[in-house]
């Protein structure tokens, strides 16, 4: 079940990224492609089989996990910039790119890297399941490391949330409002992931569902905005020809 969810999410992300290639080659609005491509890479790195392959190439000390965290940070950072610019959320934009955003990003990154090197990370294992089982100290460190990795995405999601809720209730085109709703839902899911340390071990599946719900909401939300633009372009073309007659 979880495997299906993982590979399906990878497929959705990958296909969306590929679908953006033509507009990338035409040189129009490249950033959505990079966001989708980064997301695809992030998902690839969170699935066991590809993770192990990549991590072995990187030396087998789970550096790939650290890489994954920074790929996620980059994705969510660029996503945050684009969304706040697009939806005209000036305050949120400043909270991401301004001093506050940079301090949060720097602090979390430093903490995360520090915890990573405090751990005994030998033995490739997605989600650091292997190192976490090694001893009690490692288990605690993995928990902290995971929390640090979720902290920055949660920060951005919470910053985006008010603007998304406002967009849902606005008079924007329906597809855009649905997209904003999905982005908001994804943001809530990411923020909920902060509560993971308090979830009992046996509920691991919940964590997966929350994580992939967030990613799917973001990808589909962004794809919907794109679809709305394509749809609008078509109807504008029709209108133009009908008035020319």
């Amino acid at each position: 079940m979880i495997e299906i969810l993982q590979w399906a999410t990878l497929a959705v992300c990958g296909l969306t990224a590929i679908a953006r290639v033509p507009s990338l080659l035409r040189g129009e609005n490249r950033s959505p492609f990079y966001i989708f491509a980064l997301m695809t890479l992030a998902i690839l790195l969170s699935i066991e089989a590809p993770y192990v392959v990549i991590d072995q190439a990187l030396g087998g000390i789970n550096l790939a996990n650290l890489l994954l965290r920074f790929v996620i940070f980059a994705t969510i950072f660029f996503l945050g910039i684009r969304v706040t610019k697009g939806f005209g959320a000036e305050g949120a934009y400043r909270l991401i790119t301004g001093r506050a955003g940079m301090i949060v990003l720097l602090a979390i990154s430093v903490a995360m890297v520090a915890v990573f090197f405090l751990m005994d990370t030998a033995g490739s294992s997605a989600g650091l399941v292997g190192p976490a089982r090694r001893d009690a100290r490692n288990a605690v460190l993995v928990e902290y490391y995971g929390a640090a990795g979720r902290a920055y995405p949660s920060y951005i999601s919470l910053v985006l949330l008010p603007a998304m809720v406002r967009a849902v209730r606005s008079r924007l085109p329906v597809l855009v409002r649905i997209a904003a709703g999905l982005l908001a839902l994804g943001g809530v899911a990411i923020a909920l992931s902060l509560l993971f340390p308090f979830i009992p071990r046996s509920w691991d599946a919940v964590e997966f569902v929350v994580n992939y719900t967030a990613v799917l909401c973001f990808v589909i939300g962004l794809a919907l905005i794109w679809a709305a633009r394509v749809q609008n372009g078509k109807s504008m073309g029709r209108q133009r020809t009908s008035t020319e007659k």
Partner: protein, 245 residues
């Protein structure tokens, strides 16, 4: 908006005793599936009754008066007030009439006569009608009488829509004849409502230069607000597409 199917069947028996449902649909241009569905659900829409009445050369006002909720249409119907008549003149017609007034041109050059008034309803006829009969408290009274929340009522007016029940409730709350709202929503024509031919033109001609110019100014201002809001929405949508599309 809804009439009981039983009463509808009785009424239909009265005006087309031998017609089958298929005949009725063919003559009135209603889709058979639409009517069948309305009959199965036991709720027939007001527009269905109006279409059938017209097809069988029955005055729709008289037809609606057959139903309990619309009994007050049985008459005697008071004539429309001058404000109501003026409210059903479209903004372009009002502006043209204002421009044709000698007072608009101090040099007193002769002006071409404006063309005949376009028939009601017009693009903002519902809101203009309610504004015309509103003593400042009508919206509250309609809301109290019908249980429809004021913001929902306002939303309908802004969209230039109003359900027939709300139109009647509004007439009642404002103490004017019951046909005004039905004309303003385009459910029935002025003629079907029994408004004398040329009544709107006569009401317009009886307006003083000052009143007409002021009213035209108010209408222009309202139009400007709507257009500006549309432009803002459009600009915001474009910005979203520029960044995320």
């Amino acid at each position: 908006m809804i009439l009981p199917a039983k009463a509808f069947q009785r009424w239909l028996q009265g005006i087309a005793p031998d017609a089958s449902t298929a005949d009725v649909c063919r003559v009135s241009g209603i889709k058979r599936t639409t009517l069948a569905q309305q009959l199965v659900r036991g709720k027939v829409s007001v527009t269905t009754v109006v279409s059938i009445a017209r097809a069988y050369s029955v005055n729709p006002v008289a037809a609606l008066a057959y139903f309990d909720d619309y009994r007050e249409l049985a008459g005697p119907l008071p004539p429309p007030t001058r404000c109501e008549l003026i409210s059903q003149i479209s903004t372009p017609d009002l502006l043209q009439a204002a421009l044709a007034r000698p007072a608009m041109d101090p040099a007193g050059r002769p002006r071409p006569q404006p063309p005949a008034l376009s028939p009601a309803p017009h693009a903002t006829s519902v809101k203009n009608w309610v504004d015309a009969i509103d003593d400042g408290e009508v919206r509250h009274r309609v809301s109290a009488a019908t249980g429809v929340a004021p913001q929902n009522y306002s939303a309908q007016l802004t969209a230039n829509r109003l359900s027939p029940e709300l139109a009647l409730a509004t007439s009642r709350a404002a103490g004017v004849g019951p046909t005004g709202g039905l004309v303003a929503t385009g459910l029935i024509t002025e003629e079907e409502a029994g408004w004398p031919p040329g009544a709107r033109q006569a009401a317009l001609d009886s307006m003083s230069d000052g009143d007409l110019t002021t009213l035209a100014g108010d209408r222009l201002q309202a139009l400007g607000k709507v257009l500006r809001r549309q432009e803002q929405d459009q600009a915001q949508t474009e910005k979203i597409w520029e960044n995320l599309g």
